[in-house]
Symmetry: C2
Subunit: 285 residues, 2 copies
Amino acid sequence: MTQFTHDTAPTQYAEGGGIRFAYRRFGMPERPPLVFFQHFMGTLDDHDPALSDAFASDREVILFDNAGVASSSGTVPGTIEAMARDAITFIDALGLNTVDLVGHSMGGLVAQEVALARPDLVRRVVLVGTGPRGGEGLGALPAWVAELFTRKYERQEDMWLPILFAPTESSQAAGRAYIERIMARADRDAPFSDQSVAAQRVALAAYGAAKDPAYAHLKGLRLPVLVVNGSNDIVIPTINSYILQQFLPDAELILYPDANHGAHFQYPGLFARHARIFLDDQPAP
Amino acid sequence: MTQFTHDTAPTQYAEGGGIRFAYRRFGMPERPPLVFFQHFMGTLDDHDPALSDAFASDREVILFDNAGVASSSGTVPGTIEAMARDAITFIDALGLNTVDLVGHSMGGLVAQEVALARPDLVRRVVLVGTGPRGGEGLGALPAWVAELFTRKYERQEDMWLPILFAPTESSQAAGRAYIERIMARADRDAPFSDQSVAAQRVALAAYGAAKDPAYAHLKGLRLPVLVVNGSNDIVIPTINSYILQQFLPDAELILYPDANHGAHFQYPGLFARHARIFLDDQPAP
């Protein structure tokens, strides 16, 4: 599989639970595969090639559309926990026994529920721009942030500039570079449907509303976790990353300056170095 | 200077401002020297050889007793700002034009004031187990923590086990390894005096009492800062590390799991990797 990159890996399909899952898989099969979990309104084409290709040099990278999203069949369920069950169905359909996960935003919520449900399957998790079940402001966007998700642009990908990057010259420049990267691939994923977006909104609101100030469920996530975010995440407030670190049994936190909800896209080289140190070099607990 | 290590570098002396400063300097002179700022009740012998020697492979490491501490002459002043002036006198006495700083605990407070007073001198700062001027609970230890600093031990260095490491088997084992490392050097620094400890207590209390909920002075620290701490710092509560990241103009935060006030001594290899990425590889702003 080593000949493929983020931009050239073919879209493949795997059948499981009555769903036909679209995915792309590439990289060197040396370590547990790294499965990326996508954010609200995201498709295969919103993953950052700079990250995929950095990780693919010494492990397999797997990008997928969960049930009901873009090129995958089925419908998006209305809970994060059900999305996690769909994701497990996909991973099982590939016949994988051990995986590492990178979950961004909503994908980070789903990744946590996958690890809670299947501790045998998941070795390590990287959570970017996300928070715990019941987190502060999670799934309850301020009106001015919610509005950013409804804007129309000449180049629609530009909608991510104010959502994922900070309103500084340096961060916006990094954002434009990210948009160029995700638009480079020729054959594109299908667009997301109105149903998928509506269901994701419902799931996010329900997950954020499940309050437990003690975050007791996080004690069940016993695997090593790396939590990463920007200094001022306007979508899932940065304090949630701190909360994850404080309440998870074995979590490291890294916060980057001058950054928002897409900090790993802003600093892809730095993030890849930090994530690889975490994934490869720390002893298991 | 490359033949020396943490354990073999001779103690030298530099004169400045009427003070005779004790210091040790070793390592490869390839990059700006890395000057370590010591914690409350700390001497030259409380720095971790595992860290010094890791950094010394490609830069000079400078350890020093500030005015009034252990083998240095003079008296310890009653404010952090005055300690910073003494530290600047020492750095100037060595004729250095550009330095990087690592400050731990009280040393992190002094390092911040050095960088505020002399932005021309300081390139980058690593702050471990510390907080901002006016930080939460800073210099106002709970009674059970204050008591830990007064205990007598058969091997007095063991006092640091409950202060710097978490009360878990894994953290205490790392702590015992740290104690063995700091005791390996044959010729020891002088002990700290009662005056030095009393003045340091006064300085810490005054610094913590200087409240400003907006932490406006941190905006003056425009250089890149790496903030590091353990997940549960009992001496300077971990939330202060988060506050530093949130209020400094250009700060990265790393929090380690299962760790207390001496997280960098618990994970010396990991900390050295993270600190070197920060010191060497990120572009200046």
